[in-house]
Symmetry: C2
Subunit: 392 residues, 2 copies
């Protein structure tokens, strides 16, 4: 919800659902740039604000949205009431800025629904058992919505966003990309993690766990979106459901690490403690008691990772840390890959024919990811999209 | 607290108090224009937002301030924690936009103080027994501060504001006006109600009830302010403590009202139900079963009052409603007036000598107010200030 005009449009959508006879619970996030503006205020005060106080600050963003949406719905002649995360009974752990929902006690929500209200709940936020306000981090509002849909046994959960749905590839990269009508939770989770930014993997995970049918559609255009559900249509026949490109990856290689039991664990614990998200890890075969380990991190985390790791690596006797920040990850994913061999081979072949070198490979049952040079990423996406006939 | 810079200054003041060995609880209001901006957003949505949703919206203003102040105090190396009104245990009635505090349960405040925190509480807001967020209306933050000081048995309550303290008259009107070192609760309440905008009467009332020593001082300049306490120094000797001018008053006269028992009550109930604050009321002697009643309202409420009253007055047989919107009220107040006769006479004499006609008069034990034409208000204030030697 960006502006007062947008809020009125959202109110129109919500009351239309009410007119269709549904009990409606709406989860909203902060308006447009509110969160950035609040963070900017905080950084004018201190470069290192505490998580608790940042959550106290940021949670006002959704609180503003919910009250304005309630007002807009009132002005259309409907009953509506706004609830903060705390009032909505969204209980979380105490990990500020990226809290996890641990329980929902929707007493007030149910009470207000019974009194014929459209209930508007602040997304992205909750309260811990000490009554501290928490925020859920990335994808938080979607996660709130899905979790509420689960606990309220909702018929479905509709996510309105700035894209029309989930595509076979990013349409900005592959012009032939096609909107997917329905996709399974597993595929969506893989694609979400692989960089399709439509839905956060976390929200899909909750939907899968509680079997909530999710739709993703545009909040701007009134066109059908994508259904995310347990069994997507044509599930077994479609081998590759989509292609994801993650640009802005950095690859780091720890050179000549002494190959002793537990040493890799130490390195990655160090990185995890600093809250840096490592993606792919590849370890070369050990030679003469030393080994190389490569891994990828988001480019933004590169300098922090280096600063933190370099002294530690010297301490444990590694030769050095090489970094390449111009990497991308390209992935293909699809449930159908389970029953079809040869997807990996076709993928490697496509890249080879295009003269693109594969730096790292990682696979799961339903996806294959390759790290390549960033300058080849878009070309690779188009070639793979064509190879797997996703435009059909 | 207007800007991030101001917040840092406030943090400096707060930590200085901590360094002096005090347990500190800080009550803050919203930053600068935040409240106006939020109201503006609401009015872009609907001209008539519900009180509950307005409170949900406005309460974010203080929530932003408390978190930023906590961050600023952290950055100076002190422990601090912010609490919303709800978290601070500020319970109110359910009259949105002008709720009254009915109870304070400072469990969290005390717990956090014991853990050596500077505790920052959002002013102006609370929660009702249904968990709805409420706001306290005018003077709300001061009232929160005083009520907390009372319940926590604080040594004193310091109010930081945009003026240096309480003056014998508005220095913008009377250049000789002098800052008052100490003033009694009763005098301050009279002056507050009479238009000295330094302190809200409501906060002073709570201070008086619980015997909280209050100081009012500038948040910009480090100079001593005014102490508001039970027994001000030289209380009996100083006859007139201060002069207050309330411009922007409107006078209404109900003409030829049938003088039947209960009819005035009906009129004023009608006005009270519309939430219009009537100030002075004067009824003329009844002649031949009809009477005139004059009263004053804030100029802003004039048109609403007329619209509401005129049809009703026709119904009950009054001749009409005359209105004059260019009125002002000038008042002198002081505890010493109790023991000194002749203050009223001196006041009327001063006005008469200046050729100023008195339109209405109202008195209490410790104040006299006269309604005069607005164009004479400032001249009258200066003449009275001189007459009662307040510059000494």
């Amino acid at each position: 919800m960006g502006t007062p005009e947008r809020i009125k449009e959202v109110a129109g959508k919500v009351t239309a659902a009410r007119e269709n006879g549904y009990d409606v619970v709406v989860v909203v996030s902060a308006m447009g740039k509110t969160t950035d503006e609040l963070l900017n205020l905080a950084h004018q005060i201190t470069p290192n604000p505490s998580g608790r106080e940042i959550d106290m600050l940021l949670s006002t963003g959704e609180q503003i949205s919910i009250s304005l949406l309630a007002m807009a719905i009132h002005s259309m002649g409907y009953s509506a009431i706004s609830l903060t995360g705390a009032q909505g009974g969204i209980f979380t752990d105490s990990v500020h800025r990226r809290a996890k929902i641990v329980d929902i006690k929707p007493v007030k929500i149910i009470e207000k629904l019974k009194k014929d209200n459209i209930v508007i709940v602040a997304g992205f936020q909750g309260i811990d058992y000490e009554q501290n306000i928490t925020t859920l981090g990335r994808g938080g509002s979607d996660t709130t919505a899905v979790a509420l849909a689960a606990v309220l046994h909702a018929e479905r959960c509709e996510i309105y966003t700035d894209v029309d749905g989930v595509y076979t590839a990013d349409p900005n990269i592959v012009t032939e990309a096609k909107k997917i009508d329905s996709i399974s939770y597993d595929e969506m989770m893989e694609l979400a993690q692989l960089g399709a930014k439509v839905m956060n993997a976390r929200a899909v995970e909750v939907a899968a766990k509680y079997n909530v049918d999710l739709t993703v559609q545009s909040s701007f255009h009134d066109v059908p979106g994508t259904l995310i559900t347990r069994e997507a249509k044509d599930m077994e026949y479609i081998v590759v459901r989509g292609i994801a490109v993650q640009e802005d990856e950095a690859k780091l290689t720890i050179q000549h690490l002494p190959d002793k039991p537990g040493i890799a664990a130490k390195v990655f614990k160090k990185i995890a403690d600093a809250n840096i998200n490592i993606d792919m890890i590849v370890q070369n075969v050990s030679e003469k008691g030393i080994t190389d380990i490569s891994f990828t991190v988001p480019k933004n985390d590169l300098s922090q990772t280096r600063e933190m790791l370099e002294p530690f690596l010297r301490e444990i006797g590694a030769a050095g840390l090489a970094a390449d920040e111009n990497m991308a990850k390209i992935s293909v994913a699809g449930i159908g890959m389970r029953g079809h061999s040869g997807v990996a081979a076709r993928m490697f072949d496509v890249l080879a024919r295009a003269g693109i070198n594969i730096e790292m490979i990682s696979t799961s049952e339903i996806k294959i990811s390759c790290v390549i040079e960033k300058r080849f990423a878009r070309q690779a996406a188009r070639a793979l999209h064509k190879e797997f006939k996703l435009e059909k």
